[in-house]
């Protein structure tokens, strides 16, 4: 069994779903114009990925192999509907702001990816942690993108004004294209750091 530390290290950094696996991009582009939307979306995804991985793993030994994907989709859809109902009932403002994107969590590749790649072969508790870790990795990237977009696009952070009246908002930041190039820059930075790490490790092996 993998240690929780290793699971989180994989989900957040080494195997980050958005930056390294390049999945879950659609929603990362769509909801990142303000930080609050990104945070709620991220928390929603963490909840769904964690619990669906947990459930998939729990019944993995009884699930007939050839219908496992049907079962996974069913489980994921059920948890997404729970999130949707919860937002409508207790956070109506958020539910309006996120609109159709909550329902679209179902189609987020991260969830099914984790269910197939990890939960199907591992016991429930590590599977749950793995789901949460991947969700956390996704959330962090979303918040990074949203931070840049909200700061330059509105001059605010979490709706609180940080840049004064002299600031002219950059309209492009609020439009979808901005998410494309900010995401690209973040991926670029991550890749450079990770490549460097790898080379250093190689060097160490060679020396010893």
């Amino acid at each position: 069994m993998d240690s929780p530390k290793k699971i989180f290290e994989m989900g957040v950094w080494k195997d980050n779903p958005v930056l390294v696996q390049i999945i879950g991009i659609c929603s990362a582009l769509a909801v990142t114009n303000v930080m609050m939307n990104s945070l709620i979306m991220g928390v929603g995804l963490m909840f769904v990925t964690g619990l669906s991985s947990f459930t998939v793993s729990l019944i993995r030994n009884f699930t007939p192999k050839h219908i496992r994907m049907m079962v996974q989709v069913l489980i994921i859809a059920a948890y997404v509907i729970i999130v949707d109902i919860f937002l409508q009932a207790y956070m109506p403002e958020m539910s309006k702001a996120l609109g159709p994107y909550v329902g679209l969590i179902i189609t987020n590749c991260i969830i099914m990816g984790r269910a197939e790649a990890y939960a199907q072969q591992n016991p429930p508790i590590p599977a749950f942690l793995d789901g949460v870790a991947s969700g956390l990795g996704y959330t962090i990237v979303l918040l990074l993108i949203a931070f840049v977009r909200e700061l330059f696009g509105f001059g605010t952070i979490f709706g609180i004004r940080v840049l004064g009246d002299w600031w002219t908002s950059w309209t492009i930041m609020i439009m979808p294209p901005a998410a494309f190039f900010i995401l690209a820059v973040i991926i670029w930075i991550t890749k450079s750091i990770q490549e460097k790490d790898k080379e250093e490790k190689k060097g160490e092996v060679a020396k010893s």
């Binding site: 192999k65 059920a78 109902i85 609109g99």
Partner: protein, 201 residues
């Protein structure tokens, strides 16, 4: 595991039944709350149009203020909201207006005074315009401009004209020309229909 034909079917039925049951239970237990949220939001907007301030933002106060002064009246296949004063006299009407925006349909209510002479207020019920651009139609800075606009001076049904055009009375949203344009178009059209239907102008 032995590959049986029946087992996967039974398994799928059982799993589906469990999840359906859980969801149905959740849906049932929150249905009332969700309906209340929707009603509350609409009430807030109608009160905003008539510039009525409830005692507080608490749901109970909002709904009480709404019940005390707002009624409904049939209008075409829809209905309009009527603003009643303390003695039951009619002070204004909130008319549904709407049309295509840039990305999707925009729905709004516009308040007209009882003698059809001025606009009392405007609020948007739903729209899907770009946040920060067209989406700014639902910000107070834009909506407040409509309060108190004179309807009697308008010609040819052009009640809303953006500055700096001659006779302009409202500022459009910079960078959202199409959204602004369609908002003024449907307000002018729907308002004209309402006012003509009432035998005025």
């Amino acid at each position: 595991m032995k590959k049986s034909f029946i087992f996967p079917i039974i398994f799928m039925i059982v799993v589906t039944a469990i999840f359906t049951f859980v969801l149905a239970f959740l849906n049932h237990s929150t249905a009332e709350r969700i309906a209340l949220n929707k009603e509350l939001e609409l009430s807030r907007k109608i009160l905003y149009i008539f510039n009525i301030e409830p005692q507080s933002e608490e749901p109970a106060d909002v709904l009480r203020a709404f019940e005390e002064s707002i009624g409904t009246m049939a209008y075409e296949d829809n209905f309009i909201y009527v603003y009643y004063g303390d003695d039951g006299e009619i002070l204004g009407y909130a008319v549904p207006v709407g049309g295509p925006g840039l990305w999707g349909s925009v729905e709004a209510y516009i308040g007209v005074s009882h003698d059809y002479s001025i606009i009392l207020g405007l609020d948007f019920i739903s729209h899907s315009e770009t946040p920060g651009l067209g989406g700014r139609i639902s910000e107070d800075d834009f909506k407040e401009q409509f309060r108190g606009l004179d309807l009697t001076k308008a010609r040819d049904g052009n009640y809303i004209i953006y500055r700096p055009a001659p006779g302009g009375n409202v500022d459009a949203i910079a960078g959202a020309t199409l959204t602004s344009k369609s908002v003024s178009n449907f307000i002018n059209e729907d308002l004209d229909k309402f006012l003509k239907g009432r035998g005025n102008n």
